[in-house]
Homo-oligomer: 423 residues x 2
């Protein structure tokens, strides 16, 4: 077992029992202490942020990656630096390690309550790619569009289908989401109309950030894939189903998706997820050799989606899913992406696609949960939902359950704002 | 008439009659004087590059945008700065203006032969979007896939269809193109196979780089679109048709396109293209109001594609097209992209899609020129082509024909390298 994920490890920083951020996690993020402060890099521990930019300045870290406002430099440094840095941070936070614990001045400066900081986008994202890796999701959508007999496209079981998304509109959790306007066309209408989307949806996804990557024209063998995967976040791929339906043929979704994609602020390192690797679904037919994963790369990450309308006092759970349901794993996604020589760079975001489990309460979008509008979801307020309404706050959360601790992702949340009137 | 595009203007720098780079053009690029030199920003004039980074250092330009290695800062500065800077550079180069002409020391330092410099990617591209704006191209592809009766998708005449491409693999002219490997499946094969693409193609396109752009959640009214369009380049959207055919449903092209996209190194400012605006195709049905262009935004740019195989002594022209054939113009593309609140940033690249004219010799891809392999193209070497072979050098060029001068784009060229054997 990697010493940084030992369940017996404890920190001198108080960590509540249900915290997502015990010493076994140590996720990285970028934060501001207050509105005017410069961005700094930190790790979450319990209810605190440990300021790595400061610790590096003071000579407690040798990474030389944290005097900057994004994690890109650290992502580029590669797995040896990631491991060393993580081990060093873990040691500094362990119960019996006095260096930081007993330096009152530095400790008080270096630890900041999470409740006081503003989290920023952790990475300057080069390219954002979105996969379509949940078999249940692809099947559900296929049934709605083409019926149960041809639900999966012929290519689906042979390759991890993906498309390029928009990097500029990836935002950090907490950013409000403006309902998009665009063209829609009812089946029986002679022509399209323009206006606010009436089918705004979420998609429950996870994503990973790439490390060093490959040069253009080279590929990444699947056995090396983990060396290029830094860590993971929760992703909400907001979608306007009515825009999508009208625009997506033949080149795929565009304005239906690129108005906003939200991610959780803390990147959980792949190393922290090691103990939660598990077998993925059986892949039959067997994938082509370049897609054969060495070892198990399913990830047992429990996922939840919660909705709170403007009329509700507290959120209500809509969905309970798990990342282990993904058919195509992160190593397969990465190896596929680069197999044609496409260059991946430090800070690219590769997302999973909607993660739907096998049962109707584990579907990862309203499109599926309310089955194309035919099964409205009852809210505790007496309202119903088939798609999102203005004022709805959508929160996704996820964690790995260890024995007596959780390695969690925090949350990705956003509130739907009404469409602009002046478009 | 804008004084910088006056056909009567002449420069004290020698400009051959057939040059793409008279004083009416002044396209921007990034270059290195030699392998070890730092990147500098320049404009092309005749056979020379004028070093703007140096001129700014010496106080001859007030733009404060050129002490850097990409044009992004200049793109962000917006149309007032673009116009002022262009007017200033134009003046410095005009026949009767002695400032630079008569300063032997500075002039000799500031002008470098194009033949001696290495051109670099001019912009750090944030996001790359590819449209599908040629009606003839969309029709040709539709006929091949679905027959002549349903060639155009129902949405095509209502909106400029587009998808997100890959920014990391956009390269500058002169970069070799590695034949990609990937999955393909013959119609009669039971399963896909893995190997080098056997249907490597080019796509003749043009693209524009964005200026200031919009904030997330806001849009750009079409009347303001020109203020966000800095200038244009030639684009070769290399495509692997066999990979595309197998992978593209339902989310669009991915590995079939993202292995390389080539652009010409000189960005021709929109201001230099003003005299060549012309009516575009009649749009029927009339577009929705947000897509109604004020004024004519067709662009009369002659386009050519040339092929030279390894066995040929000189290139052979494959295609003669024109940008004026595009159904959806650049203002419509930009306004559509932002209408849902998607934020455009300085340095995004928006490409047109393949520009096919009405006649078979004006089709902008081998797929169309050789009509899906049924009409092989005879080369002067005695070879034939239905798709590109290893060693083929593909060159695209384009220019606007003025009275007695050309405003040209130079070229975008690339040679096909064999697939890697170790994938």
């Amino acid at each position: 077992m990697n010493p940084t994920t030992d369940p017996a490890l404890r920190s001198w920083v108080a960590v509540p029992a249900d915290s997502h951020f015990p010493i076994q996690n140590l996720p990285y993020g970028v934060f501001r202490r207050s509105a005017g402060s410069p961005p700094a890099i930190g790790v979450a521990i319990g209810k605190q942020v440990l300021d790595l930019t400061l610790l590096e300045q003071r000579g407690l870290l040798e990474s030389r990656c944290f005097a900057t406002s994004t994690l890109n430099r650290f992502l580029a440094a590669g797995p040896a630096v990631w491991s060393e840095t993580r081990a060093r941070i873990s040691r500094l936070l362990q119960t019996h390690e006095p260096t930081l614990r007993d330096d009152d001045g530095l400790r008080q400066q270096a630890l900041v309550p999470q409740s006081e900081v503003q989290m920023l986008l952790p990475v300057e994202i080069g390219d954002y790619t979105d996969f379509y890796s949940s078999r249940q999701h692809a099947t559900n959508v296929g049934i709605m569009l083409r019926g149960p007999d041809n639900a999966l496209m012929p290519n689906w079981l042979h390759l991890p289908v993906a498309y390029h998304g928009r990097a500029s509109s990836v935002v950090v959790s907490g950013t409000d989401v403006r309902r998009p306007c665009g063209q829609t066309k009812a089946d029986d209408a002679p022509a399209p109309m323009f206006g606010p989307s009436r089918s705004l949806d979420f998609e429950l996804e996870m994503g990973f950030f790439t490390g060093p990557g490959n040069r253009l024209g080279e590929s990444i063998p699947i056995a090396s894939a983990p060396q290029h995967i830094f860590g993971m976040v929760l992703v909400n791929d907001w979608s306007a189903r009515d825009l999508q339906k009208w625009e997506y043929q033949p080149l795929g979704p565009f304005l239906a998706k690129n108005f906003t994609t939200s991610i959780s602020p803390w990147i959980v390192p792949l190393e922290a997820l090691e103990p939660f690797r598990c077998p993925g679904p059986v892949q039959e037919p067997a994938p082509l050799p370049y897609l054969r994963s060495p070892g198990d790369w399913g990830l047992d990450i429990q996922l939840e989606v919660w909705l709170q309308s403007a009329k509700m006092d507290q959120p209500q759970r809509l969905c309970l899913s798990n990342a282990k349901h993904l058919y195509w794993n992160i190593c397969q996604q990465l190896a596929h992406h680069a197999v044609n020589g496409c260059n991946l760079r430090p800070g690219d975001l590769l997302a999973s696609g909607t993660i739907s489990g096998p049962t109707p309460d584990s579907f990862g979008s309203l499109l599926e949960l309310a089955w194309k509008g035919t099964k409205p979801i009852a809210l505790s307020s007496g309202e119903t939902r088939v798609f999102l309404q203005d004022g709805d706050r959508l929160t996704m959360t996820g964690w790995c359950q260890g024995q007596g601790y959780r390695v969690g992702f925090g949350e990705v949340a956003g509130t739907v704002l009404p469409a602009r009137k002046d478009v």
